[in-house]
Amino acid sequence: MGLQIGNIAALLNAKLLTPGLDVSREVEHAFSSDLMSDVLTGDYHKTVLVTGLSNLQSIRTAEVSDIGEVIIGRDKEVSQDMIDLALENEIVLIQSSYSIYRISGLLYEAGIKPIY
């Protein structure tokens, strides 16, 4: 059983930055990392990426890794280029003020499973 990404945004008291994208998509797994090289080694299915790295390559890495949802923690600044790239690739982008640790803990408590 997963959680809808829209409900995850509510759980994290977070902002949805990609209006118009389907927020009823289910997420079953999460992977938290600031190291994109590490993200690129995984296989993902219904997985959200939780990261403190807010730049274009976090979105590109999600795109090439078939990750459909990205949560940026600690209210790191998200550029318009990142939002545009996410929209172009139908990646739901979320910005939360919570730390990566807190986000990960809340997702785990809500039943979202780890990758490893």
Binding site: L35, L40, N55, L56, D66
Partner: protein
Amino acid sequence: MRLQFHIEGGDFVNAGKASSTVKRALKQLDVSAKKIKRVIIALYETEVNVVAHANGGDIDVLIDSDNIRLTVTDSGPGIPDIEQAMTEGFSTASKSVREMGFGAGMGLANIKRNSDSFHIESVPGKGTTVKIINELKE
């Protein structure tokens, strides 16, 4: 189908654009998601390597009904010891590359892992050429 791209060294804004274009082309050809992911991860990691280490480079993509062939050539510093560079954890990346979320010494090994056929040649002081062939059929 043939696609060609130029990559600028140091240009992290556009790194991944070629991979994105090739991914779309393969989707249109109805290649399975699993096969697409393998070759696109290999191509993206290669693009990032050129952006991170070289002055620039070129990507040549040849797609036929059975295979995709990627040839990526850069005019970078070259790799003096390829075996050492393939070792996970070995890295010569700069601080700015690490700040972008890369440079942990995992790239070349991940490219090889996601390639059906992987070949690398390098001449120190001149540059590096990577050739990747992946099957597209299940």
